[in-house]
């Protein structure tokens, strides 16, 4: 009998404790974010979409066409073409297949001129896979005014 009373007592105690917690959580701060309406801020080092910033002084790409990012990419999703020689070398094609990209950041790491940077943006889903092929124009448009990811290791 005593053990039964004990168990009832413990049960009631646990119930009271649980309900107290429930009501405390009801009015307490929320841990969730109403996603499409509110959005979570990402860190400045966020491995998000990629962008090609333009040099504000010359108006040209910062890219010096060294092909290092193309070579280091594990998914081989960067395609670069250029024309001209010496100082007149001009970027004619810089395609990134974002559907293949695995956001590892090796291209940002190896770039000697910080010509390819991460953009703090994470909503890239689309209904058509072809939209995920980002060409030079797309990458220029997505680039921030100032480089936000550090590409060069000191």
């Amino acid at each position: 009998m005593a053990s039964l009373l004990d168990r009832v007592g413990t049960g009631l105690q646990a119930l009271a404790h649980g309900l107290r917690l429930t009501f405390a959580t009801l009015v307490g701060p929320k841990n969730t974010v109403m996603y499409p309406i509110k959005k979570v801020d990402v860190s400045p080092r966020w491995h998000g979409l990629l962008g090609l910033p333009i040099d504000p002084q010359t108006g040209n790409d910062l890219c010096i066409i060294c092909f290092q990012c193309e070579r280091v990419c594990p998914s081989r999703c960067i395609h670069i073409e250029a024309k001209g020689k010496g100082k007149d070398r001009l970027l004619t094609r810089f395609d990134i297949e974002m559907d293949k990209c695995q956001y590892c950041g090796l291209c940002v790491e190896v770039c000697p001129t910080e010509a390819i940077v991460f953009v703090p943006h994470y909503e890239a889903s689309t209904y058509n896979r072809a939209n995920l092929l980002y060409d030079l124009e797309d990458l220029h448009r997505s680039a921030p005014k100032e480089p936000i990811a550090r590409g060069v290791i000191k």
């Binding site: 990402v42 860190s43 080092r45 491995h47 280091v72 594990p74 590892c104 090796l106 190896v110 550090r150």
Partner: protein, 368 residues
Amino acid sequence: MALRTEELILNMGPQHPSTHGVLRLVVTLEGENVVDVAPDIGYLHSSVEKMMEYRTYIQSISLADRGMDYLAALANEMALLRAVETLGKIETPQRAQWLRTLFLELQRIASHLVWLGTWCIDIGATTVFLWCFREREKIIELMEKSTGGRLHYVYFRPGGVYEDVPEGWTDGVLAFCDDFAQRIVEYEGLLTANPIFEVRTKGIGILPRATAINLGASGPVGRASGIDFDVRKAFPYEKYAEVEFDVPVRQEGDVFARYQVRLEEMRQSMRIIRQCVAKLPAGEIRAPKVPITLRLPKGEIYTRTESPRGDLGIYLVSEGGEHPYRVKIRAPAFSNLYALTEMMRGWKVADVIAILGSIDIVLSDVDR
């Protein structure tokens, strides 16, 4: 007339929500008793080992992140880099070593939290799942602040780490530790003394010590069966030799013991993290003169690390080029899956879920 009984073969998975991935269990039942269990794996095979042969060592890091155990990406990076650095005799700066130790332990807590949450949802405790993911989110945010990734970080490099942690990051880690110390007490309050939880876990799915050793069970599964072995203690890497921590060992070998071991491991990880933050020196984070296309000398090596799932080994053969000749991954979840049949034989069909969850399986790690 006597009633005839016959064995029933039940297919569980590969789309079953409780198999934690694409695992198919062919369960032979006699009534409600499990006679035999045959795990059928290979649904998530991604040929990581073969793909590594065509990639340079730095490119393999991102592969180790994804292709192996995706819940503990940094532990995989560490395993690969330990082999690469040992074979290439690359010295890592002190600060990078301390940072790596810190990150590995954060990763261990995050991985165990996923395990605790999903396993508890399997055996019917939904609250723990939400609470665990609330705390895990804090770890992921810390990771994101420092590495830029939330699950796949590509943060360790041969000879160091990619970036130094941002200003004030270690304060965030300490704040998390202070908060998390209380949270573990909450989880224990929900589970340990809970009579339903005790009935579902205590004495269930016993793996004897000798069987565990024979089948190569490692990590928390082995330690719950009384094997006092932890690679961090036995073959210390990074800074594990210089930090104080205990290796929790239980003799029971049942599901409850595995739960206790993992919970205690989280506490020990916090202890290591606090020591790492206290001892974190200033200085370089990356060894100079480690080229992007790293060439290792000719030779072969086997190194092992302690991932959250157990003893994660890498056997690496180099022919002297920029690609490995062969990489063999000794996955802890694969070896622990071997022990599953022994654990499940003789128990009821309802225990199958509890036992399967308790070995903390990640199918990406099993199949590779």
